[in-house]
């Protein structure tokens, strides 16, 4: 049954992606409304999938890359839906939803994790740790996509070459403030997630910090985002520079998320999460 929810969510999210891309081209509000409803339905089924997976595993479903990607995708959509309430910016969906659907496709292509879950993972700390970190990641993904949209739009206005995106993309101020707010809200989530992670490590492994590659890279990511936020709030960075920096930060984050887990080993790596 769990797989059914996953596939249903995947199907609806792909459908919403198609709809939102068509909306981007045709600019008809009706298409957006339908796509948005389909996305909501997909998100609900995705949530049901996560909950049912949570209960069947006894812990947050993030122990393999497949589940982690699907959870990442879910948190991006979740962040998007919250932003949609605030900004009512239809075009954001045409960028965000394809991105999260892309993660879902990768996730769906991977094998299911089978086997017993180590008791050590069946902890509320893990759920809180992973939940907050992923919420932060979801918001950073929004910041990343808003930054890309900003650069496209800024390039058009600066170079006075008005392509088909000029009308479709919102104003620079809007994109910059989406970038700003998603960083502003994402950063506490990441920070809180890292703190709960280290508490959980102390509780489970007896050490707050043990120079695990993922730990180190998470810290690097955190420092990158801290630097960006500092520049934004204290120095007054905005616009193009902030957009480029948030794209760089997100690349570091993706490396931490995928690269550090797959390539660098350590107790965070998916192979060790499953194997022992």
């Amino acid at each position: 049954m769990t797989f059914f929810w996953f596939n249903l969510a995947l199907f609806l999210e792909l459908l919403a992606t198609g709809g939102l891309i068509v909306f981007l081209i045709k600019q008809q509000k009706k298409i957006f409304r339908y796509s948005y409803r389909v996305l909501l339905a997909g998100f609900i089924f995705h949530t049901i999938f996560l909950i049912s997976n949570y209960f069947s595993l006894g812990t947050a479903p993030v122990l393999d890359l497949k589940s982690a990607l699907s959870f990442f995708s879910w948190s991006i959509i979740c962040a998007y839906l919250v932003f949609q309430l605030k900004f009512k910016l239809k075009v954001l969906g045409s960028f965000v939803v394809p991105f999260s659907a892309f993660l879902m496709i990768i996730s769906s292509a991977m094998p299911w994790f089978e086997g017993p879950v180590k008791p050590i993972f069946k902890s509320l700390w893990l759920t809180v740790h992973v939940g907050t970190v992923f919420m932060g990641n979801g918001l950073f993904a929004i910041a990343f996509l808003a930054a890309i949209m900003y650069l496209i739009q800024e390039n058009q206005i600066k170079n006075k070459s008005f392509g088909s995106f000029y009308k479709r993309l919102p104003s620079l101020a809007t994109l910059d403030s989406i970038n700003h707010y998603s960083l502003l809200y994402g950063f506490p989530f990441l920070t809180f997630g890292m703190i709960t992670g280290s508490i959980y490590a102390q509780y489970a492994l007896g050490k707050y910090w043990q120079w695990d590659p993922k730990e180190v890279w998470s810290l690097i990511t955190w420092l990158f985002y801290a630097a960006l936020l500092h520049e934004r709030l204290a120095v007054g960075w905005r616009g193009r520079r902030a957009a480029i920096m948030s794209i760089i930060c997100f690349c570091v984050l993706i490396f931490t998320f995928v690269g550090a887990s797959l390539l660098l080993g350590g107790y965070h790596s998916f192979s060790s999460l499953g194997a022992r």
Partner: protein
Amino acid sequence: MSVMVKIINIGMNHETAAVGLRERLATGSYSISKTLASMRELDCIREGLFLSTCNRIEALFTTDSAAKAKESIVSLMSKAANIPEKELMPSLYIFEDTDAVRHIMRVASSLDSMVVGEPQILGQVKEAYVQATREKISGVIINRLMHRSFHAAKRVKTETEICEAAVSISYSAVELAKKIFHVLDGKKALLIGAGEMAELAAKHLIAQGVSSVVVANRTFERAVQVAELFDARPVSFEEIETQLVDVDIVLTSTASPEYVITYPQVKNAFKKRRNRPLFFIDIAVPRDVQPEVNKLENAYVYDIDDLKGVIELNKAQRQQEAIKAERIVQEEVFKFEKWFKTLEVVPTIVSLKDKVEDIIQAELKKSYSSFSDLTPHQIETIQTLMRSIAEKIINDPILYLKRKAERPMLNSYLDVTRNLFNLDQDNEDME
């Protein structure tokens, strides 16, 4: 046979000449009255008019010898603007007859403007016409043509929506500002220089929520005057640099030949602005804002050519109105042409009337001796009688010619008339 008078228009506009060349023309040291005076001195030019705005140059004239006149006018333009003919030629267009009539009507109606429908051009055309009459170089054709053009412009303005604010430069500037700032509420604008166009744009910005306007002008009194229009604060020219730190939108339209706002100034301002974006709308020619300013982060500089690019975006919506406006112009062109064609008939009609008058006078002279016992009143009655008989006789031929004025066969009708009444005084036929 009368020689055909041609109406010719030579000029350049924003489409044929790049902003650089137009800037050189706008800064050229020639004066309109001087140009008109040298036009008047040319034998091949019958009537003329010279229009020079920041976006166009037009020389409108009538001539009997088209080729020679065209040559002289081009060399006159090149001398006046101090640009070699070779460099000037590729940017020029030449319209003749109907095309010239249509062109000047489209110019007056603002259909040929960079910002179609902008209100300034009609005033500029009127001013050019006033100057031409002052220099006594306009004549019956130009007078008529210009009045018809003003009429066409008025019709286009009232009967179509092409002149609505939606197509004006201020509208496109506001649209751009919204793409940068999202909303203009609470934003500050700095207006440098004055002029109808700049004031219109400023009004538009205020209507969209811009909360405070600062006005700077080379002469402070003028700044105070303009500031009163918008409830704005006047500042001196020297304060511009400090103002750049505070404002969000800068609107420039001075006649200054050098840059009013330079790269180092804006760069300095950005240090104190905490990178808040700054949007320059430069509607002056020559430009007021150094183009390099656009290279600064968060600075966006739009000159008049750039704004045109934006305007083209909402072209589709205006297509319908444009068709209507072109139709109005076409109607007015037809009306003028109809009148112009009758001009060809006029010399023949005049000769015919002259001939009749000559005959009357000659016959009166012959019979004068037998009038001696008549009272002056009776003589007058006889004269009136003769004249009315003569007029009745030639009235139908005259009406006939006027009716045929638009026909392609007109020339042969004129020929027949002239031969029939022997208007060209051929000696052999007299015998």
